[in-house]
Amino acid sequence: MGLLANEWVKIFKRKSSFIMIGILAIIVVVAAIGITFVNSQDNVINDNGNWQAALEEENKDLKEELKSTPGPYKKEIERIIAENEYRISHDMPKVTSYNVWTFMNGMMGLVDIVALFTIIIAAGIVASEFSWGTIKLLLIRPISRAKILLSKYITVLLYALFMLAILFVLSFILGAAFFGFEQNQPHLAYLDGQIVARAQIPFLLSQYALSSVGLLIFTTMAFMISAAFRNSSLAIGLSIFLLLMGSIVTSIIAGFFDWAKYLLFANTNLLPYFGSGTLMVEGMTLSFSLIVLLVYYIIFLVVAFWAFVKRDVAA
C-alpha cells in the first residue's frame, strides 16, 4: 500500500535510522570480538573425564541445600537438579565453551536496545509531522485520518520486526563465525517439573518473541504519547523514562502493595512464566499478565486513534 511505502521512505531517507541499525550491528560485533578475546584469555578446559560423577555430586549438595532454602528460591534449585539428572541420563555434558546458541542467547539482551530505537521511531512518526508542519499537507488527502495513523503504526511495528530480524540474523552469523557449533545441544527447558529438550532455533525465536512483548507495549505507549501530545521530545523522554524507571518503581511498590500487579511494568516481562527469572509479585499467572497487557494495549491504541482523529490540527 502506498501509505506504508510513504512512511517507510520517510524513515529511511533520514540518517538517524541508519545510525540506529549501525549501532545495533556494532554492539553485536564488539560483543562477539570481546567474548572471543576473553575466552582466549582464560581457556580453562573442564575436566571432561568424569562429568557424570561431578553432576551427581552437585545434585547431592543441592538436595541438601533445598531443605534449608526459603520458598521463592526452591524452584531454581529444583530446576538445576532436574537438568543435571537429565544430562546424566541422556549423556549430555554441560556446555562449557561459547557456541552460537549461547552467544545468541546472550545477545537477546539487545532486544532492549531495539525497543529503545523503536520507541524513538514511534515517538517521532506522528509528532514529527506536526513539528515539520507537514501534517497539514498529509491530512488533506482523500484518505481518512484513521488510515493514515494505522499506516504509521504498522510501519513502526515493521521497523521493530526489521530491527529484531537484523539482530537475530546478525548474532547467528557472527556467533557461527566466531564460536561455531561446538557442543551442539538442544535447549533444555524446565516445564512443570519436567525437563524438555527443544530445538535451539525455535526456542530462541520464542524467547525473542517473549522479550518483544515489552517492546510492543512500550512502543505502543510511545506512539500514543506521540499521537496525543504531538510532541516528539515529550514522547521519547516520557517513554524512555518509564522504560527505565517503571520496573524499579513497580518493584518498590510491589514490596508494599499487592495492587502493584495491575501496573503495566509488573507484567511486561513474561519470561518468568517460561522458566527464567522471577516474578515481581508472587501468585501472578501468565493469563493474568496477558489480560493486563491486553487492557493496556487497547487503552493505548484507543487513546492514540481518538486523539489523532478527533482533534483539530492547529499547528
Partner: protein
C-alpha cells in the same frame, strides 16, 4: 457553476466564537480573494474548508460533497497549501511529489514531471528541499496542490516570501489556471494591493464575520470619483469651484485642489478655471485603492481595522 459553498459556517473553541455564520460561494473559473486583518479568521476558515478543523455548525460543500459527512469525496477535489508550504526537507522535490502522488489515485509519474515543469522546477527536482529558496518551496507547494487536477485550488498567502518577479509569475499562473482550466481559486492574503491585481472577487472578513463581498472592479470604482487639480493661484481656484457645481466637494490639501463627487463634469470644471485666469498644471483622476476601501469598510462596520 458553484464549486465551493459555505453555508452558515461557525467555529467555536470553548465558548469563544472564532467564525460566526460565514457564508459565501466560489465559482469555477474565478479567483476569490479572502481578505482580512490578522486574526480575523482567514486561516481558521481555510482549515475548516480542507477538514483540518471540525466545523461547529453549518456545512461546507465542495463540488457538491459535504466536507462534514463526505470528507474523502470532497477533499479529492481540493488542492491546497495551508500557511507555509512545508515539505519534507530531507527528501528531494521529486520524492516529495511522489509521496503525495501515492496518496491519491490516478497520479502518474508523467503527471509529476508535467507539474514540475509547469511550476518551473524541472531542473531542481532531484535536489533536497532544504536547499530550496522560499520561492521554490512555494512553487513546489503549488505543484503538490495541482498533482491530482483539483477543481478548487486553495492557497493561504501564496505570495509570501516571493520576489516581485515571482509574485507576478504566480499571479499570471493562477489567472491562467482559472481562465483556461476553469479552476476555482481561493486565495487568502493581507497584501491588499496584491489581491487587487490578482482576484476577481474579494470577501472581506473581520472578527469571524464576512463584512463584504464585492467584485474587485466595483469595489475600486464604486460611488465617488475624485480628482486632483494642480492650479494657480490656489485660493482663487478654490473660490471658483466651491459651490459652483451641485454635489461636488472641494478641499485644499498641500496646495492641491481635491475635488470629489458622484458626477463631475471635468471639461466644464476646467473651462471655468481657465476662463477665470487660473493656470492649470495637472488634472488627475484618483482611483481609490483597495487598501483605503478596505480600511473604510472594516472601520465602517465597527471594528479595529
Amino acid at each position: 457553476m458553484i464549486v465551493v459553498s459555505l453555508n452558515n459556517v461557525s467555529k467555536k473553541i470553548g465558548s469563544k466564537t472564532i467564525i460566526d455564520n460565514l457564508s459565501f460561494d466560489v465559482h469555477a473559473g474565478e479567483i476569490f480573494g479572502f481578505l482580512g486583518p490578522n486574526g480575523a479568521g482567514k486561516t481558521t476558515t481555510i482549515r475548516m474548508l480542507v477538514g483540518l478543523m471540525k466545523i461547529t455548525s453549518g456545512d461546507i460543500f465542495i463540488d457538491g460533497h459535504s466536507v462534514k459527512s463526505n470528507y474523502e469525496e470532497a477533499i479529492a477535489k481540493v488542492g491546497a497549501i495551508v500557511e507555509n508550504p512545508e515539505m519534507y526537507k530531507f527528501m528531494s522535490g521529486y520524492d516529495n511529489l511522489k509521496h503525495y502522488a501515492r496518496m491519491t489515485k490516478g497520479v502518474t509519474m508523467e503527471r509529476i514531471d508535467e507539474v514540475a515543469e509547469l511550476v518551473g522546477l524541472q531542473n531542481r527536482m532531484k535536489e533536497k528541499v532544504k536547499t530550496y529558496s522560499l520561492g521554490m518551496r512555494q512553487r513546489l507547494g503549488i505543484a503538490q496542490a495541482l498533482l491530482h487536477r483539483p477543481k478548487v485550488l486553495i492557497l493561504d498567502e501564496p505570495t509570501n516570501g516571493l520576489d516581485p518577479a515571482g509574485i507576478r509569475e504566480i499571479r499570471d499562473y493562477l489567472k491562467r489556471l482559472a481562465r483556461v482550466e476553469d479552476m476555482a481559486v481561493v486565495v487568502s492574503s493581507h497584501l491588499l494591493s496584491e489581491m487587487e491585481m490578482m482576484c476577481d472577487r474579494i470577501g472581506i472578513i473581520q472578527n469571524g464575520r464576512m463584512v463584504d463581498v464585492q467584485l474587485v472592479n466595483d469595489m475600486v470604482n464604486d460611488g465617488n470619483i475624485s480628482y486632483l487639480i494642480s492650479a494657480k493661484p490656489v485660493d482663487q481656484a478654490f473660490n471658483l469651484l466651491q459651490n459652483a457645481f451641485e454635489g461636488v466637494e472641494v478641499k485644499v490639501t498641500k496646495q492641491l485642489l481635491h475635488v470629489e463627487g458622484a458626477s463631475i463634469d471635468v471639461p466644464k470644471l476646467v473651462k471655468r478655471l481657465v476662463e477665470n485666469n487660473c493656470d492649470i498644471y495637472e488634472v488627475k483622476q484618483i482611483n481609490q485603492s483597495l487598501e483605503e476601501k478596505f480600511l473604510e469598510i472594516t472601520s465602517e462596520k465597527g471594528g479595529i481595522a
